[in-house]
Amino acid sequence: MSSPEAVYLDHAATTPLLPAVLAAMTEQMGRVGNASSLHASGRTARRVAEQSRERLAEALGARPSEVLFTGGGTESDNLAVKGLFWARRDADSRRRRIVVSPAEHHAVLDSVEWLAKHDGADVTWLPVEPTGRVTPEALRAALGDGEDVALASVMWANNEIGTVSDIAALAEVTHAVDVLLHTDAVQAIGQVPVDFAASGVDALTMTGHKLGGPMGAGVLLLRREAECTPLLHGGGQERDVRSGTLDVAAIVGLQVATTAAVATREERADRLAALRDRLVAGVMAQVPDAQLNGAPLDDVIGGADPIGGPGRLPGNAHLSFPGAEGDALLMLLDARGVECSTGSACSAGVARPSHVLLAVGADPDRARSSLRFTLGHTSTDADVDALLAVIGPVVERARRAGMGRR
């Protein structure tokens, strides 16, 4: 149960709405108008939507026509993976291979697996380094001459362990063999420098609620020359690639949030990284055998801004506590008002060993004993203090309860 006094350390799940977003959305929700209508009310709605599109494009280094509004990150991932696969294969029937990282979000993984099961796709799983990163060499080797590849997909920043990819280097590899690259940048935007044009990727997923916008509003940035077969057919509102009446209030909220997150990124990233470093150091001081998962805290990836930057999301601390179970830790912390996450759960809510940790070579016990703490724009020193005040006894108690399955 989240309560006003809860210590919220789960910003990667969702982060509080920005007051400016609420104001912009409230204003828009008070107006009538379908952005597809030709009369004055419709024109007003369209003007707000298109203005939002332009400002979003500017914040993300894209052209306005490359911004496709969707219902969120999951829809954007599905549209990119399935739509690009279908379009490329239909243009050239040899192209039925998908090259993908095993540490992707389930919206990508399950789309790929669906295509493999139902639509004849062949899947090549990329090897990942212990940090979770895919190297350009590994990608090059997996692509071969690329002639049978429909698309490659590698996330910009991992939602669990926070590892940031060197996306520009990967895009260079795919382009050398004429393969399209999709990247899920849901966690990256507003955290690390993201410039669509400079990165070279062909399709990029983002969503609003991870950076202070509303839920249910996302974007697929799609390079103008990239052909993409629609998932949703209808009015053809978004370049004929995505249909559905535009949710103008959500779109303006998404835009205000994105513009603010990008504009304040550097200052916030520095602040959160310092806070995160203190969190990790504080936890390690009390639980000396805790293990940090993912890239080192001070990791950097190649190239200068706007392409280079931190190799780990500034607000991400992902730790394993040997001998304790993630479930038990989460429950004990929750009972003490500290909210965090264990990673993935199945539809029944059963904690599963994280596929991301398994992909980076962790054994199932280490995967099951992990917790993700993620900081965001409302995080304070007091939040970290509150965690550090309880983590020692909580880990001790969870260890006494043992690994529940044994």
Binding site: M1, M331, L332, A348, G349, R400, A401, G402, G404, R405
Partner: protein, 360 residues
């Protein structure tokens, strides 16, 4: 007290959790995921750990405003309950998996973990009365579940809370309806939770394969038929024997011999037993001095029969029944009660049936 409410997604455990909240306890809800392969249970509405049941449990927890988690006990459950169930049938016995689940999962694995995490007790929706460490039958005789709880020890009972023992099932549904729980009208579960289609024989056939053997008439020693697996039979069973004997008198399964796969059948006069031998017993409270008089219930929903409880071999019990009983199957639990019409029959303990004899 901080308590953990085991919430199956059914109406009983929902009301039990609600009553625990009303009683002023600090309640956390837990749904036990017991199937290793949830997908297969998604279509079976009565699977104990289907996605729908987890959802129903979560909805109630949210309405009560209590934290809710899912604990994955699939490995333990598979090993301690499902594999035990299969192995018992393979050995010619008739196990009770609900009893085994209470003994090994709910009041062992779950209770241990709850206590380690700082909870004082586990709350369940079982229909049985528990006060001052004394386990008694529910006021609702038709719904009484004391039989499958009789295996619990005093230590286990000290960590258990059964809020529903003093009310009828109808009252439970009324409370659920008054509180607006969507599960108020949800159907009762009758099946074995890991066999959602109710076809126990089919389940065992898939696990154990075809194991043909003879059906022998006890009176003549003659083979009167063939069966495809002795696990499809239970001692005392009358229907579905698949054999025709000369006369028209009904036949009952008298015994199952697993090695030769022989199923022995006989007429009613041979099916009654007067003496039951059990494995070493467990007691819900102080160990009583032998011999003593009690009532024994020899299967779930069976009728209790007065008996003399005496010492048997190897630490087990020898129960001398006042009247002969049919359908006393090895593997079932012989649960001993001290009759008490006012406060509810008191559960003394139980022993697993090893063998039954006509003698006495």
């Amino acid at each position: 007290m901080r308590v953990l409410a085991a919430m199956s997604g059914g109406v009983d455990s929902a009301v039990a959790a609600a009553l625990a909240v009303d009683a002023g306890h600090d309640v956390t809800g837990v749904h036990l995921a017991l199937s290793p392969d949830r997908q297969t249970l998604r279509s079976g509405a009565r699977g104990c750990c289907s996605v729908e049941d987890a959802h129903d449990a979560r909805r109630v927890a949210d309405e009560l405003g209590i934290p809710f988690y899912v604990w994955d006990l699939a490995e333990r459950f598979t090993q301690a309950v499902v594999e035990d169930f299969v192995a018992e049938y393979a050995a010619g016995r008739t196990p009770n998996p609900c009893l085994r689940c209470n003994e090994k999962i709910k009041f062992s694995a779950v209770l241990d973990r709850a206590q380690a995490l700082g909870f004082g007790a586990v709350v369940t929706g079982h229909h049985a009365r528990l006060a001052d460490g004394e386990l008694r039958r529910s006021v609702d005789a038709a719904k009484d579940q004391s039989y499958v709880l009789a295996v619990l020890t005093a230590d286990q009972l000290a960590g258990a809370v059964f809020p529903l023992g003093s009310m009828t099932k109808q009252r439970v549904r009324e409370i659920a309806a008054e509180r607006g729980f969507a599960v108020a009208t949800k159907a009762d579960s009758h099946d074995i939770c890991f066999i959602p289609d109710g076809d126990t024989r089919g389940f065992l056939a898939r696990r154990l394969g075809e194991q043909p053997g003879p059906v022998v008439d006890a009176a003549t020693g003659a083979t009167v038929g063939e069966h495809s697996g002795a696990y499809g039979f239970t001692v005392g069973q009358r229907r579905g024997l698949g054999v025709a004997v000369g006369d028209s008198r009904p036949r009952y399964v008298l015994g199952i011999e697993p090695v030769s796969r022989t199923v022995t059948i006989g007429t009613a006069d041979l099916a009654g037993v007067g003496e039951v031998r059990t494995a070493p017993p467990t007691w819900t409270g102080p160990v009583p001095a032998l011999p003593f008089r009690a009532e024994v219930q020899l299967r779930a929903h069976g009728t209790p029969v007065p008996c003399e409880v005496t010492a048997g071999e190897d630490g087990g019990l020898r129960l001398v029944l006042d009247s002969r009983q049919r359908g006393v199957a090895p593997g079932q639990s012989a649960v001993l009660y001290a009759p008490d019409a006012r406060r509810g029959d008191l559960v003394l303990g139980q022993g697993t049936v090893l063998a039954a004899d006509r003698a006495a």
